[in-house]
């Protein structure tokens, strides 16, 4: 009786099985890495903006405080975007006629907000309160990075649920004294203990803490 398969067939079959297994594991690993990649979370990718605004120039170069424009950050859920009139307070004199600033003048004339594209947009089902985080000692930089060095505003953290949880599970090392929240070159040590953590189920990791 002739052989159905050549001696090499076994090697091929085993290789195929091995490759199949490797492909499965590889696909799983790839998926694991991909969904955590900066690309998937648009980290480092600037959004197209109606006005070529540079934080590096305004916050870094001119040294404007974050709160000058994002006035609600200490008390409101949303940090707040500056109104056109606030911008034009300076730009009435500086670069007054620049075409790049036309959206500002349109906004003022129409009473409509400037259509900025959100870089740090969170989903509809999350509740995020800037004021609460500031009050707890979470610095701007902790989540937003060194914005004052960014010519174009980009996300530096994924803002995934896992990333939020990393801090909510163990906030202490990432917090600062409340006075230092807006400090750009702070080098101190975190405050000793977090007032909210603790218990069998930490209040900070309850679903209702962040989901509505």
């Amino acid at each position: 009786m002739p052989q159905h398969f050549t001696p090499r067939a076994d090697g091929r079959l085993r290789l195929a099985l091995l490759l199949g297994l490797a492909a499965l594991i590889g696909a799983a690993l790839l998926a694991f890495v991909m969904v955590r990649s900066d690309h998937a979370w648009a980290v480092g990718r600037p959004a197209p903006q109606p006005i070529p605004f540079s934080h590096a120039l305004h916050a870094g170069g001119l040294g404007l405080d974050c709160r000058y424009c994002h006035a609600g950050v200490e008390r409101a859920a949303e940090a707040g975007m500056p109104s056109a009139s606030l911008c034009l307070g300076c730009h009435g004199d500086v670069w007054a006629g620049a075409t790049a600033l036309a959206p500002l003048r349109d906004s003022l004339a129409l009473g409509a907000p400037i259509p900025w594209s959100s870089v740090h947009r969170l989903p509809d089902h999350t509740r995020f309160h800037h004021g609460a985080h500031i009050a707890a000692g979470a610095a701007c930089e902790t989540c937003h990075g060194r914005v004052w060095e960014m010519p174009q505003t980009i996300k530096v953290r994924p803002m995934s649920m896992g990333w939020c949880l990393d801090c909510h599970r163990e906030p202490e090392p990432r917090l600062r004294p409340v006075e230092a929240v807006f400090d750009r070159d702070w080098q101190g040590r975190p405050p000793p203990a977090n007032p909210h953590a603790g218990g069998a189920v930490s209040p900070l990791t309850q679903c209702s803490t962040c989901h509505r």
């Binding site: 159905h4 398969f5 076994d10 079959l13 969904v35 994924p158 649920m161």
Partner: protein
């Protein structure tokens, strides 16, 4: 002798497919297209295309799921018992009982996914490291069920596959002998190089019986888990210790009925009168009749307890099932599941293809009605007895149901053509050991 017999069986896969097969295949394929359309519409539009509502949150999805699981379990249970007891009948019917179980469990496994409001998120019941760092809720009966159905599919498939390996080796040789080289290679890869070594046989037989032995408690567990999904709720009609027993026992006539009908059909259709002889048919008929007798006892006990001895909530719920909106379905289930198959105690009815096939299928239909009564009429009386608009299945639910029946038929047709319907090596073994040989 034995060689000639086995040829009949293996001849089926190797012969050119007949017109009847192609017609049946075409019909089943058409039904599977309907299944595809029903699924596409469901995914596109949403669960609302069904007739479900609050409180009838489930309709055909769960009815069909529980029913298919029952068919699969009873068919598997039957095959497993044959293997473990090394009963003579096993040579004839255990292979396609296993195949029927596998096809049924595949049909069943569709429903837990499709019944979801968002089926594309099905993988969330599996614990994997997600970026949300969030996990399944392991206390849920649905998690038990997820593992139950996953294991059920895999272990049923394994059981079938292990039994198939030596036969695939035989098929490899026969295909080669007929010069059908590609087929021979395909069977050859499927047979994994099986060469009939006595050492291999020893381990193979142990593994086969071991998986059969493992399947047995798994089947009971899977069926019980399905029942526990109902029994652990607070719904008055479902929150019963007897519910798992009800589901397991009433599941038997469906699977046995389907296997009986298939056996009779195969016997007539493929001319396998020698391979599936009267003794086999008699045993199968009587097993179905015995299962129906057990159901009769279950129903009687349920009515007695449910209507007389239980608390007021349960009594009201049982009364609604037996005499409420869906009473006709309940009583039809009792007649078809527990009474009609009793006729199979008679040889004249049990051995005749034209009587065994309809009774077997009607018993399966009766169990389906029992599941309808359980899932729908059981939800009629919730703890707060609010009169609510009733449930009625929509056309898309029927499409899904008929589609899974077609899927089952398609799988069985493909099995019948591509692999031996009866275990050849067991037949040889049987005949070699029988005094006649």
């Amino acid at each position: 002798m034995s060689r000639a017999d086995a040829r009949t069986i293996s001849g089926v896969p190797l012969a050119r497919f007949g017109l009847a097969w192609w017609l049946a295949f075409g019909a089943a394929a058409g039904g599977v297209v309907l299944l595809g359309v029903a699924i596409a519409v469901l995914l596109w539009r949403g669960t609302g295309v069904w007739g479900t509502n609050i409180p009838y949150v489930w309709g055909f999805d769960l009815i069909n799921y529980v029913w298919w699981i029952g068919v699969a379990n009873a068919a598997s249970l039957f095959a497993v018992i044959l293997v473990l007891r090394r009963h003579g009948l096993r040579t004839a019917v255990n292979r396609f009982a296993e195949a029927a179980a596998l096809a049924a469990v595949v049909a069943a496994a569709l429903y837990p996914i499709l019944h979801l409001g968002r089926p594309w998120l099905f993988h969330w019941v599996f614990p994997y490291p997600a970026t949300t760092q969030f996990w399944p809720q392991f206390r849920s009966t649905l998690i038990w069920d997820f593992w139950g159905i996953t294991s059920h599919v895999l272990v049923t498939g394994l059981f079938w596959t292990i039994g198939l390996i030596p036969d695939l080796a035989t098929m490899r040789e026969r295909a080669a002998a007929r010069g059908r080289r590609v087929l021979a290679l395909a069977y050859g890869i499927g047979a994994l190089g099986w060469r009939g070594s006595m050492a291999h046989w020893a381990r193979h037989q142990l593994a086969y019986r071991l998986v059969a032995a493992l399947l047995l408690p798994l089947l009971l567990a899977a069926q019980t888990v399905v029942a526990l999904e109902f029994a652990t709720t607070v719904m008055p009609d479902w929150h019963q210790a007897r519910l798992p027993l009800h589901v397991v026992v009433t599941g038997l006539p469906s699977g046995l009925g389907v296997v009986l009908a298939l056996a009779a059909l195969l016997r007539e259709g493929l001319g396998l009168h020698r391979e599936i002889d009267d003794g086999d048919m008699r045993l199968l008929s009587r097993l179905t009749a015995a299962a129906a007798t057990a159901c009769l006892w279950i129903y009687a006990e349920e009515l007695l307890f449910g209507l007389v001895l239980e608390g007021p909530e349960t009594r009201a719920a049982m009364a609604i099932r037996a005499f409420g909106t869906y009473a006709a379905i309940y009583w039809a289930a009792v007649v078809l599941t527990a009474l009609l198959p009793l006729l199979l105690w008679s040889d004249r009815i049990g051995l005749g293809a034209w009587t065994a096939v309809p009774i077997g299928l009607l018993a399966a239909a009766g169990v389906w009605l029992d599941r309808f009564s359980l899932v729908v009429a059981g939800a009629e009386r919730s703890n707060l007895p609010l009169p609510r608009p009733p449930y009625g299945p929509s056309g898309w639910e029927w499409g899904l149901f008929l589609g899974t029946i077609a899927l089952f038929a398609l799988l069985m047709l493909v099995f019948a053509r591509l692999v031996p319907v009866v275990s050849m090596y067991e037949m040889r073994h049987e005949e070699a050991e029988s005094p006649a040989a």
